[in-house]
């Protein structure tokens, strides 16, 4: 049993943290998220080519640093600290995770493209009727010669406006909510018949509603076995959920630190409001939530390799705790700031918005508590 980071892991964190301190201050971020495309592509390129950061979680044979889930967690936590909108989660954690799991020629072809910063991959999995049920799919992929024809509507696909590729879940068989018949495709984002409606998200990113209208896709776009990849999708979504918990830890830490700083500057009744015990104790409670979020993230990261049921229970425990903590820390950060906290002016509100979206991402606290109970708490 060992709870220390390796030297390489420390180095990844330090390098990324220094880079983001130089390139990702709040004003700069606001400028590019409010620009036409909502991002600064030079940052992604630098992450890939100057820092080698997009390879941290890939094997050396693909040109990576040989890391995995812990490295993803480190990157995501640092991204959380700057409320970064870079598409690391869908590209590296999710699509990269799927490619690592599937292996073979598809992995050999795509992973180097991800590491080089050439590929941005959005994850089109959610549908209007499905909430957090990964198997609840109306999107269909019908066999057509050597390939498939894709039809359906995917909801709130983060990073889709920037994507070179889409990772799509679709039914190749079975009923709308069956475990069997779920397939996974990695396709070019610009194929004819893909219609996007792009929009900004409340937490500073960009997303799309995606409509597939008789999109002809090649047979080799299929990742894993046809109709048999729900377990794989569950696994990569679990990996993504834990990575999101890591991001939340970074966001929550900054919400807490920002509140500490503000209360030491803001004076009322002739003293800094940090002198008031009621606020001190609230900030201690926030601190404890941040530390516990960090602990749960580490716990779940270390348990990602366990058999599916144990893994899912651990991930759900983590997401439940982190979602509750993110709500508590976010709401109290705003409350402690007072009026200024509800303006767009300060960074704190933008951290709160991201924290709030994280609460529901890949399932709310209640969703994960239900799953935890099913898996870990037999009557």
């Amino acid at each position: 049993m060992d709870f220390t980071y390796t030297e390489t892991q420390d180095m990844i964190r330090d390098t990324l943290s220094r880079f983001l301190a130089d390139t990702y201050d709040f004003e700069t971020r606001q400028k590019f998220i409010n620009g036409d495309t909502g991002r600064d592509p030079a940052i992604w390129t630098a992450l890939a080519q100057e820092l080698g950061m997009l390879g941290a979680a890939f094997a050396e044979e693909h040109g990576g640093l040989g890391g995995g889930a812990l490295e993803n967690a480190i990157v995501m936590e640092e991204m959380g600290k700057v409320i970064g909108i870079e598409p690391y989660l869908p590209t590296v954690v999710i699509a990269g995770g799927a490619l690592k799991a599937v292996g073979g020629a598809q992995a050999d072809a795509m992973i180097p493209e991800i590491i080089a910063g050439n590929a941005i991959i959005a994850f089109a999995y959610a549908e209007p009727q499905g909430r957090y049920d990964l198997a609840n799919l109306k999107t269909s992929a019908k066999k057509d010669g050597a390939g498939y024809v894709l039809n359906g509507h995917k909801s709130v696909v983060y990073a889709a406006p920037w994507a070179t590729h889409l990772l799509v879940t679709a039914r190749t068989g079975g009923g709308q909510r069956d475990a069997d018949g779920v397939s996974l495709f990695l396709i070019d984002a610009k194929l004819p018949g893909i219609v996007r409606r792009d929009y900004p998200t409340v937490d500073g990113s960009r997303a799309s509603e995606i409509y597939f209208e008789n999109v002809a896709i090649p047979g080799d776009a299929l990742l894993g076995g046809e109709g048999a990849v729900l377990p794989l999708i569950e696994q990569i979504v679990d990996e993504a959920t834990v990575a999101t918990c890591a991001e939340a830890t970074g966001v929550m830490q900054k919400l807490h630190e920002g509140t500490l700083e503000y209360t030491q500057q803001r004076k009322q009744f002739g003293v800094p409001i940090a002198k008031f015990q009621v606020l001190q104790h609230r900030m201690v409670d926030m601190f404890m939530e941040v530390e516990q979020a960090r602990s749960m993230t580490i716990m779940a990261t270390l348990k990602l390799g366990l058999p599916a049921n144990e893994r899912m229970a651990a991930v759900s425990a983590a997401k439940n705790k982190v979602a509750r903590g993110a709500k508590f820390v976010g709401q109290n950060a705003i409350q402690t700031h007072g009026g200024i906290g509800i303006t767009q002016e300060l960074a704190i509100g933008h951290y709160f918005k991201r924290a709030t979206m994280i609460e529901g991402q890949f399932g709310t606290a209640d969703y994960h508590m239900d799953r935890y109970e099913r898996l870990a708490l037999a009557d």
Partner: protein, 397 residues
């Protein structure tokens, strides 16, 4: 970073399991199952078995009688003893005054007291709180005045746990009335059989006699029994509080506690289903489990920090706050789970009285334990004081 036990750790785990299975006293197990209050002899029985094995003080340095275990082995030890529902040894000697003596004591104090703590020969109690000094401990007014080679001690201590059994007590006393509060306190080891000491029981909400008032009237204490310098006792007190707080998380015991609650809720019926199938009850158990996991991994991270050379610091206040809240929620759920049979008041087996308590075995201690465990957020520095400590020492406020 990984959670794997090495082959050596696994072998150690097996050794611990075997040892407990072969050596844990059967009559103690029986009393625990019946929910009886445990006597001094009960505690000493297990203490002496561990002493004989050389496993009585895993946290101590080897030179003073520690086991030399790695942090992982110590983790395994606390997991396994909790899993097997072994009683928790009294902390006053082993976890509290022992470390103070080996850290601050004279060679004579170490040579005399440490072996007797290990063997269980001396039972210790803690003379800290006073009627007027609870959270504001440094305001304490018990005085020690020099008279040749002795101090003459006068005052009153309170909440002194199991002082009725104690051979020795460690006391905070005022040796300089004019200095700043924290700078006029000394740390004395006092023989509880000294003339002038009176111990009076305080009965707590669960009906237990756990805590006492201790009156000191012209008690003579040799100066040789002062630990560390005169007026530097606060240093020992702070050191000891940090030590007390780490153990207080009680993760392994709470894990065992949750298993007990689940077992009760699988036995108790709610309609035609077990209580644990009731979604509202089940949700409370699940949230408690999740919160306990968060505490467990926070403690593991803290142990890893301690392993890297950082001693138990102010972050151990977090472990105390969350650990005590969880202990209380456990007793709350247990009481809720037992339903009607939380109400009958079982006074314990009297002389020659073997009549079985009313209701199921798991029920008759549920309410007293719930009442009793309200202490956990109050003792060892109340949770409000712990928040003050974090605010000051960690957040820099």
């Amino acid at each position: 970073m990984d959670m794997e036990f090495s082959p050596e750790d696994l072998a150690f785990q097996q050794e611990v399991r075997d040892f407990i299975a072969e050596n844990y006293p059967a009559e103690l197990r029986g009393k625990q199952d019946e929910g009886e209050e445990l006597s001094k002899e009960d505690f000493l029985a297990w203490h002496k078995i561990l002493y004989k094995k050389g496993w009585i003080a895993p946290a101590w340095p080897v030179e003073y009688g520690g086991t030399g275990w790695t942090p992982t082995q110590r983790f395994i030890w606390s997991e396994e003893t909790a899993r097997a529902d072994c009683i928790r040894l009294m902390p006053f000697g082993l976890a509290m005054v022992g470390p103070v003596i080996y850290t601050f004591g004279t060679p004579e104090q170490k040579a005399h007291f440490l072996p007797r703590i290990l063997s269980g020969e001396d039972w210790w109690c803690q003379g800290y709180s006073e009627p007027g000094s609870g959270s504001d401990l440094a305001s304490l007014r018990t005085t020690a005045v020099r008279d040749g080679d002795d101090y003459i001690v006068n005052g009153q201590k309170t909440w002194t746990t199991l002082a009725q059994h104690a051979d020795w007590g460690f006391f905070l006393v005022r040796t300089d009335k004019d200095a700043k509060q924290q700078e006029g306190i000394s740390f004395l080891l006092i023989d509880m059989k000294s003339p002038g000491i009176t111990v009076r029981p305080i009965i707590t909400l669960g009906g237990e006699h756990e805590v006492n008032e201790v009156w000191l009237e012209d008690v003579r204490v040799p100066v040789a029994n002062r630990v560390y310098e005169e007026n530097k006792g606060w240093t020992c007190a702070k050191f000891l509080l940090a030590h007390e707080r780490t153990g207080i998380a009680g993760v392994a015991a709470s894990k065992r506690g949750i298993e007990k609650v689940k077992a009760i809720a699988r036995t108790e019926l709610d309609g035609d289903k077990p209580l644990l199938a009731n979604p509202f009850f089940k949700r409370k158990v699940a949230e408690l489990e999740v919160d306990l996991t968060a505490l467990e991994f926070t403690e593991l991270r803290s142990l890893a920090g301690a392993n890297a050379g950082k001693g138990p610091g102010p972050e151990s206040s977090l472990l105390k706050i969350k650990g005590s809240e969880i202990q209380q929620r456990l007793t709350e759920l247990t009481l809720e789970a037992v339903g009607h049979y939380g109400a009958p008041y079982f006074r314990g087996f009297g002389e020659g009285d073997n009549e079985h308590p009313i209701g199921p075995d798991y029920a008759h201690r549920a309410a007293p334990t719930y009442f009793n465990m309200r202490k956990t957020t109050i003792y060892g520095g109340s949770n409000e004081i712990q928040r003050n400590i974090i605010a000051k020492m960690v957040l820099g406020l």
